[in-house]
Structures are given as structure tokens and as C-alpha cells.
């Protein structure tokens, strides 16, 4: 199923790019002001523009330029569009997580002589990411659903396919089938997150200690 393929590829890329963006935006000091400003502009822009518009612009615009070396695959541009848009959303989730870690944690890490990067890598980010798993999953359910927007490019993904089938047979249940397929993917994702959170809580808290 093409939606799953688009979803999986985008998700992996987004997890990384969004984290990088969030870290860039958290860099302290006046030296990094331009970096922070760029990150803010990026986030504001891609959160402000409707996803479908980005997909249309890149998916029809880029191949039409006919430049040498520019990929013409619409699926490629669909993935790029989703990555651009969702990186903005997900980086905000990461950033909220980073800011929720108390500054005393960084002080403790730095006081051991760890560098700023090491403190981030071993102390701040592990705690931040753990805290934002639920909202992160929320965004990924959104992403999974938004893969249907790729249909505007004429890519025959599940929504497009059900439209075709519906038009051919005047049978509305094809949409129901498509909806069921989406839910079948998103529900296991939700249960998986619940399991992750429960496992983390079990590991950190004793049987006798109230959560």
C-alpha cells in the first residue's frame, strides 16, 4: 500500500530533521541568533501553509521545471512535502520536551565536566523524548492520515483508489474500506505508545511507590 510506504519513509526522516531543528532552536547565546531566527521562520512558515498546498506546489511544480537532476517522481515530492510540513510540527513537540527538562539537570551534567553537546545527548534529550512520546504519536497519526492528500497529485493511493472504485460501481462502501484501513494502522500505533509509556513507568517506579 502506497500510503504506508510514504508514511514510513517520511516518519523516519521527520524524526531526525525535527530533532535537529528543535536543537538548533534551543541553542543559547547571541552567537546562534541567526540560526534560531531561521528555525523560527521555517517553523512559522510550514505550520502556516496548508499541507495540501505544499504538496501541490512541489508535486506539480518541481517536476514541471524540467531541470536536469531534479527528480520527477510525484511520490518523491509528496514525501518531501510531508517532511517539510511535519518537521515544523514535530520540532515544536520536541522543543516543548526539551524545555520541560529542568535546568538543574543540565547544571548537574555540566558540573560533571560534560560538554554542552554531551549534556544534551545523554541527559536532556533522553528525558525530553520520553516525555513527548504521546504528542509525537498524535502527530504521526495525523501524518498517516495526511498521506491521503497525495491523491491530489494523481498518485493512486488508497483514497484515490477508493474514489475510482466508487465511481465505477456507485458503491460507497469503498470509502468505508479505505477508512477501515487507516484505522487498522493507527490503532496499533496508539496501543504501542501506551505500552511504551507503561513500561517506562514500571521501570522507574517501585511497586509500593504511588505513581
Amino acid at each position: 500500500m502506497i500510503n504506508i510506504k510514504i508514511f514510513c519513509i517520511s516518519e523516519v526522516i521527520i524524526l531526525v530533521t525535527a530533532l535537529v531543528l528543535a536543537v538548533l532552536r534551543s541553542l543559547p547565546g547571541p552567537v546562534f541568533f541567526p540560526v534560531r531566527a531561521l528555525a523560527v521562520v521555517y517553523t512559522d512558515f510550514f505550520r502556516g501553509v496548508p499541507t495540501i498546498l505544499v504538496i501541490l506546489m512541489l508535486g506539480t511544480g518541481m517536476p514541471a521545471l524540467g531541470l536536469a537532476g531534479v527528480p520527477t517522481s510525484q511520490i518523491f515530492w509528496a514525501v518531501v512535502s510531508l517532511v517539510l510540513v511535519y518537521t515544523a510540527y514535530v520540532s515544536e513537540v520536541y522543543r516543548a520536551g526539551i524545555e520541560s527538562v529542568h535546568p538543574s539537570q543540565e547544571a548537574a551534567a555540566r558540573s560533571l565536566g560534560l560538554s554542552r553537546f554531551q549534556a544534551l545527548r545523554f541527559v536532556i534529550l533522553p528525558q525530553a523524548v520520553r516525555r513527548v512520546v504521546p504528542p509525537l504519536l498524535n502527530d504521526f497519526i495525523g501524518l498517516q492520515k495526511d498521506t491521503a492528500l497525495v491523491s491530489v497529485l494523481g498518485v493512486v493511493e488508497v483514497l484515490q483508489q477508493s474514489q475510482i472504485d466508487e465511481a465505477a460501481t456507485f458503491n460507497g462502501t469503498y470509502y468505508l474500506v479505505a477508512a477501515t484501513l487507516f484505522v487498522l494502522i493507527t490503532i496499533p500505533l496508539a496501543r504501542f505508545t501506551d505500552w511504551l509509556i507503561a513500561r517506562d513507568r514500571r521501570r522507574r517506579q517501585a511497586a509500593g511507590v504511588p505513581a
Binding site: S104, Q105, A107, A108, A109, R110, S111, L112, G113, L114, S115, Q118, F122, V123, P126, Q127, R130, R203, R204, Q205, A206, V209
Partner: protein, 250 residues
Amino acid sequence: MSRPVLEVEGLHKSFGKLEVLRGIDLALAEHEAVCLIGASGSGKSTLLRCINLLEPIDAGRIVLGGTDVTSVAGRTVNAVRRRIGIVFQAFNLFPHMSVLENVTLGPRKALGLSRGAARERATELLGRFGLADKRDEYPDRLSGGQQQRVAIVRALAMQPDLLLLDEVTSALDPELVAEVLNVMRELVEEGMTMLIATHEMSFARDVAHRVCFLDDGAILEEGPPEQILDAPREPRTQQFLRRIVEAGRL
């Protein structure tokens, strides 16, 4: 006497318009344990954070083992911090790591010790302070006293030249204070050079080599514990100690 482990000269520090430290002069010889006493807000914690370069200072000098570290930057800051251990009032253990991981993180990542060597060092220290069976627990599962002992072990695992303790028993339930004070007492007896901000006056009297009374960002009076605690010269020191006595803490 050998060269002081730590020398602080004319240290000034302000937060905005509020001047927290107004010219601190302080020196610590090797194996010396000095207690900083004084009311909340007198600048004890800020002084310790400045010495550990966690706070930039406005004026003055900090000299560590003969090396001026006042204006070091970048990687050198990390190198300086490796030589100074600090233990915080609120423990600040890393909640996502086990006790062993908390203690081995610094030696492995900042000192470059191998996993095996770091574990060995950590296990030895944890055993010495009665925490051997807590090695694989997470901080949330420990009592406050145990957490603070782990935090002390975490600082010791770096084998620092100087240990800073910032009111390490203030956040503890009264019945847990003794176990942490005992660890500190042991360290003083072993000859660890320590600067201890504390409200535990009887501990200061028994253990400290010298007591400094900090008032409004300056060291108002200093000397042997008997002198400062029993026969203070300054009216402000007398007033402070009277309040402590009234609160039943001496």
C-alpha cells in the same frame, strides 16, 4: 603548607541590579573542610555555583590549584569542572538512568574511562557508602538520603580535587539527615578538600576546620568553629546564631 587548592579573590556577582556577592576572598588548603554558614539569600549557593563556573562572575579571580580559571572558555571550562565536584540541595540525579549509570556517566564521557573501569570505580564507591544493593535501581525508587548519597558518589567518581556541597541536607526529612552527614564526616576524615554550605551548625562545629559566616554577599567573620559558633564577634553573626538556637537547630 602546599599551595591552596582554591583561591577566590574579590569575587563580585550580580543578577541584574541585585548584587549577590560583594567581594568574596576565600582560600582552601589541601585537605581542608570549610563550612559556609549564613541566612538564606546571603550568597552561599551563588558562591559555590561561581566557583564551579556555572555562573559567570562580574569581577574578581578564581584560582584552582595555582591556575587562574576566571576567564577560561569553551573546552577548558569542562576540564575545570572535572576537577571540582558539586552536590546540589535537590540531588539532581538523572531520573532516566540507574544508579550505576548516574555514577559512571561522568567518568566515561568526561574522563574517557572504559565502561569496565568506570563500573569498577562506581561499584567500589557505592559499596563503601552502603549503596551496593541499589546499583541497578532508578533514583525514583530511593529515599532522599539514598539519593543524596548517590549524588555524592557521582561527584566522587570524578576523583575531584575539590568538593562543593550546597546545603545537601536541606531537602531531606529530619531522620535521613544523619546518614548524609555521616558520609560527609567520613570524607572530611579522609582528607577530601571540601567547601560546605550548610545550616547544620552542630555538624560544622564537629567537623569543619574553619567556618565562614556569609552575610549580605560578603564574608563577615571567619575562624575556627568554636570561635565563630560560640564566641562570635560580629553582632550580625550573633544575631544569626541566636535565631538558629531559637529554631532549635543548635
